[in-house]
């Protein structure tokens, strides 16, 4: 069997974001990077399936981006993926979800992947489009937001998370794509021996120009901070003083402290 997992590298979301020179995305300097959180669940699920199926199964991890994304790829390899495709694209951030999906679909088209795993959304752009669009472009079955996954000889049984804690149970046949939601599993931490082993795994480097066949369908006109609503009080400074200030406010503005 052939499995593919698509991962995106995103900045640490606790960073301060400043618009880039064009004012359409964030300035990438001085950011710490890591694997998109939702994609960690996708990798873990793919690795678990890879382990269950054993010999004869191959798990490829794919990421589109500049050279820095190799760090995220290496993490996925250390978690248990067999090999990787780094679609080299320093301008990945300026591509719309349709283009990102089309790059993945073009890569996957003649490779006969049985199951493709993606995250349900990326934390920085958060369009929740790429996974489903890849499936549409490949013409394969797809379900989204899964919090449960079982596989048995060509059949997938997935649990979708709906609003308010309700779940929907779905069955489909491979080839298929699933988009993974938080809580699907407990992503493992790569162990040192596995990090060492991962160094020997193959990372194919493919220039994006070889795979990009589509024009963008949408344009980002601007990237900016939210218009502050104001009203709220911001307290900063020494913790001891802050405690007294907060207690005074709570006594004044609420009935919960006397």
């Amino acid at each position: 069997m052939k499995l593919l997992v698509c991962i995106k590298q995103v900045p640490d979301l606790e960073s301060r974001f400043k618009p880039n020179a064009e004012g359409v995305w964030y300035n990438e300097t001085d950011l710490a990077w890591r694997m998109n959180e939702y994609d960690e669940y996708a990798v873990e699920q793919a690795v678990q399936l890879r382990e269950k199926l054993g010999e004869g199964t191959e798990l490829t991890v794919l990421s589109i981006g500049s050279d820095r994304v190799v760090e995220a790829i290496k993490k996925a390899l250390a978690m248990g993926a067999d090999n990787a495709a780094h679609i080299q694209d320093p301008a990945a951030a300026s591509k719309d979800p349709w283009q990102i999906a089309s790059i993945i679909a073009t890569y996957a088209k003649d490779k006969a992947f049985d199951i493709i795993f993606t995250g349900m959304q990326s934390q920085d752009r958060g369009s929740a489009q790429v996974g489903v669009t890849v499936a549409e472009q490949l013409g394969i079955a797809c379900t989204t937001t899964i919090v449960g996954f079982e596989y048995d000889s060509g059949n997938i049984r997935a649990k979708r998370e709906l609003e308010g804690g309700i779940k929907g149970i779905v069955k489909m046949k491979t080839p298929a794509l699933v988009t993974c939601q938080m809580g699907l599993n407990v992503p493992r931490y790569p162990t040192l021996p596995n990090i060492m082993k991962a160094k020997k795994k193959e990372i194919a480097v493919i220039p994006v120009a070889d795979l990009l066949k589509e024009e963008a369908l949408a344009t980002t006109a601007s990237f900016h901070p939210p218009a502050k609503k104001g009203g709220g009080i911001v307290l900063e400074g020494d913790v001891g003083v802050l405690v007294d200030q907060l207690i005074a406010i709570l006594k004044d503005k609420t009935a919960v402290l006397r």
């Binding site: 489009q129 979708r160 149970i169």
Partner: protein, 303 residues
């Protein structure tokens, strides 16, 4: 301008969020038509054209089939925009429709601005203005971002039928886990977020809840990691609460968390990041390390 609004229906009921689609259409100043896979016994209060397929035969979750029905209605109505709520139904179906039409999708709109649509990004800390390149686009609107609007009237039904079975088989719903804590009744909730750092720190947050005479709440990652039980989770996939006081400890303020607690009377957030989006709705944002501030606060409150 015309929008085709895709209504939503679950376990036999029309979802209230469907009325937010009309709020969006009004802001756009657009003509509307609607499509729903639902039931004639639960029609929206809407006097326009409603393309209706029967959920009993078409299924409530059958994206291949629902996509086909929508594409049929798009042919008939020739809308500029096809609009969904950004929900588990909408974010699943919208990209399929957009891909079939090969038009842009703009996800999770929070506003309409000159030159495009406003969406959140970077975990809600930042915003983007996005513009579809073509004349037609698929849109999903963030739940709660647009006003609920009931146009009133009785729809002019255009019944749709479809047979094709699709690539997915929907087996059924699994009910939400039973809650052993009803946070909905709590007057004070102190919630732990990922910013508390580790499971061992949960008792520190629980101690503040106790000192204030309230309950412990939690954000989703804290629950997913097994630090706190699911019955304490606040948010779209947890509980919706409206206490007199809500204290968010190390919680960034993602939309799915805010949706569960923004109706609280008074919100205090403790976060080391002054730009955390929780600051947009907090009455007081304390910029501090949660593990230094909370024990100090608990000590003073308990005294």
């Amino acid at each position: 301008m015309k929008t085709l609004l895709i209504g939503e229906y679950r376990e036999g009921k029309l979802l209230d969020s469907t009325y937010e689609l009309f709020g969006f259409a009004s802001q756009m100043g657009s003509e509307t038509a609607m499509l729903m896979v639902g039931s004639e016994s639960q029609l929206p209060a809407y006097g326009g054209t409603l393309y209706l397929a029967d959920a009993a035969t078409c299924g409530e979750y059958n994206p291949d089939l629902h996509k086909k029905l929508i594409l049929d209605a798009v042919q008939k109505e020739n809308p500029d925009y096809i609009v969904f709520v950004h929900s588990s139904y909408g974010w699943d179906l919208a990209p399929r429709v957009a891909a079939s039409l090969k038009v842009a999708q703009v996800s999770e709109l929070i506003g309409v601005v000159p030159g495009g649509f406003e969406v959140g990004c970077c975990n809600a800390k930042m915003r983007r203005t996005v513009k579809p390149n073509g004349a037609r686009a698929v849109l999903t609107i963030q739940a709660g971002a647009f006003p609920v609007e009931q146009p009133g009237g009785t729809p002019q039904l255009q019944k749709l039928a479809a047979s094709e079975s699709g690539t997915l088989e929907f087996v059924g719903y699994e009910p939400a886990e039973k809650k052993d804590v009803d946070l909905g009744k709590a007057e004070i909730i102190v919630s732990a977020g990922r910013g508390i750092g580790k499971k061992d720190n949960v008792p520190v947050i629980a101690a503040l809840a106790k000192a204030l005479g309230g309950e412990l709440g939690a954000s989703r990652p804290v629950v997913d990691a097994g630090w706190v039980e699911h019955s304490h989770q606040v948010g779209t996939t947890g509980q919706t609460v409206s206490p007199k006081l809500y204290v968010a400890c190390g919680i960034s303020g993602a939309i799915q968390h805010l949706a569960g607690m923004k109706k609280s009377d008074f919100i205090v957030a403790i976060n080391k990041d002054k730009d955390a989006p929780i600051g947009e709705i907090a009455d007081v944002l304390v910029v501090a390390d949660v593990m230094q501030f909370v024990p100090a606060l608990t000590a003073k409150v308990a005294r």
